[in-house]
Symmetry: C2
Subunit: 418 residues, 2 copies
Amino acid sequence: MSWQAYSQDIGQAARNASVALRNVSPARKTQGVLAIARALRSQSAAILAANAKDIEAAPGFGLNSAAIDRLRLSTDRIEAMARAVEEVAALPDPVGAVIDGSIRPNGLQVQRIRVPLGVVLFIYESRPNVTTDAAALCLKSGNAVILRGGKEAMHSNLCLGEIVQGAVAEAGLPPALVQIVNTPAREVVGELLRLNTLIDVVIPRGGKSLIERVMSEATMPVIKHYDGVCHVYIDASADLDMASRILENSKCQRTGVCNAAECVLVHTAIADKFLPRLGEIMSRRGLEVRGCSKTCSLLPEAQAAQENDYRTEYLDMIISCKVVDSLEQAIGHIEMYGSHHTDCIITDDYSAAQQFVQEVDSAAVMVNASTRFNDGGELGLGAEIGISTDKFHARGPCGLTELTSYKYVVRGAGQIRG
Amino acid sequence: MSWQAYSQDIGQAARNASVALRNVSPARKTQGVLAIARALRSQSAAILAANAKDIEAAPGFGLNSAAIDRLRLSTDRIEAMARAVEEVAALPDPVGAVIDGSIRPNGLQVQRIRVPLGVVLFIYESRPNVTTDAAALCLKSGNAVILRGGKEAMHSNLCLGEIVQGAVAEAGLPPALVQIVNTPAREVVGELLRLNTLIDVVIPRGGKSLIERVMSEATMPVIKHYDGVCHVYIDASADLDMASRILENSKCQRTGVCNAAECVLVHTAIADKFLPRLGEIMSRRGLEVRGCSKTCSLLPEAQAAQENDYRTEYLDMIISCKVVDSLEQAIGHIEMYGSHHTDCIITDDYSAAQQFVQEVDSAAVMVNASTRFNDGGELGLGAEIGISTDKFHARGPCGLTELTSYKYVVRGAGQIRG
């Protein structure tokens, strides 16, 4: 079969399954999600066996030991996957909710009702738990999903896919609600990205080159999970203990994530007091600082920053630093160099906080709280399929609601338009 | 200047103006919109003079007399444009609204706040009033807009653009909030569609070829205003008087619009009673019917439909007709041949209505009401910049709210992530 025919078959099966799902009760969807959790536990031996093949092949894909550890499953990790799926099952069902409504002067009753997006194509390069998280989120939100994981996790994902399909079928739902692309061929991605009459949205989650490929080839809408050049701005009025604590958490708690801080902006009025604290974090955490000339004069351990440093998502134990003359200069810097992902102000000044909140146009604007809180679980959405860096449709964490659209339902008694 | 440099300048000016607008009070935006209305009235002579040049050139663009009439402005039409702008000014400001919020267990206060999309590129082929409607809608919703109208309205649009910019400046706002592309060169559209770091969304409104070009070239999200293959389904239990009235209104009130009916589905149990009524509408309104074999046997005036008729948006005094055996067959037909725009059931049966509402996945699903009500004004949104046929971001009429995104604002007291 050609890649085109293979992709078309997958897309059509997903579309058919998504249409069938319109008639399924919320309880049945939840049963399907819970069946996935049960199947993960009862078939953990098969999952571990499949995962062992991926682990064995991993060095051949050039994975280092940290990456191999992320890929590795264990009984405990499978139990955690099952629990995460159960948490999705317990979330409120977004589908069918009445968003708003009105009765028009002519008596028409107008409602906006949440509906699934339809068919989701999810392309990712992550740990195997993402496979089951995505399956649970899409099923609970009434969508069919086509899952395309990384080649390094192919055995694990195919095994998980079979288990998920079995569970979905056991709950009386069409197995094609969750399909795994069973080939690493790059051509299949290109073919799937052409199917805009069958696939409603594509969600790429992974490295920049993956996301850029999807952006350039997709013929359907994309929810991007792009770069996070996140800032912590220490205002003149900041509590410096709080500032140190939040900066350290934002930068160092996990460095490889999109909501980690990549740049600290320090108001000049407190730079001489704050930068030694940054120096203390540097030595204690092994943090490298790349700073402006004023930073370097006050913090000799810092290296000189190039302009491009301020645009860089290090995803590493490195941070850029700039001393600014004013709140306005901080906001201007974030506008020019940031990626509109997550930006934070540390301040005791209410009006400075309000101005920052008003003028910084990022998916999440934090006041006196770590950038690491821009996360579906932390913000109360439950599990997330990604964090959108777009302003369109979904911004920030994408949970169940962000996997829905809406339709107008208009009930009348014979009204016509005059 | 190259088209690329020209487009880049427009895009950058729009971006700068949209950033400046973040700091502007709702009252100032409303003043700007009201200033547009005043300026339209006070400068109507200049508008009429510019419009006269378009009217003179119109036959050279191949416009027929109906199209020329739509292009022509008059004192009354300018007054109507001013009033439409005033209606936008009076709508609630969507920006800054708190969509939802929560206090997390760790004390973080989380809010989702409406924010403008940023910069809107609006490409249209419509009457000059669309220029001022779009300017008012974008300004009121806090967006900068780049307007690219049709070449046949170029003189009118440029004059309107100058008047709008003058009014915006008079209200103390950056004139680049509303820019008119002052050349008919197609290359400029291509260049603008590349500027995804400056332009947040493109809204094409016009013929299919325009929309398809924008879809294939745009590098930013698109809100499409695509085809409307809308259905009226006459259920077995329908009140046939109501059915005739709604069908006639849906098909014949205005034939050239996207929410006009293009296909009627008739339940076989009432086909022999209903089709003569369709015949009556045919003769009274000059309606052409293209029907299935059963339609043709019951309604000899009908022509035989080809399969492609059921996919056709006639935008004319023509309708396709099919007799169906069941509600399920009607829903299946709509799924297969429809465009998910607006679909209607006429029924006295509550459970049939519920099944139709549940299973038909269209931007608007009507029960016992004309398809023509899928319209921003009729559904209570106020003015609209278009009707989205997408399921992504905005579905159905796009008013002020649909021109916004949101951001998370998180206020803490030093919280860090554990």
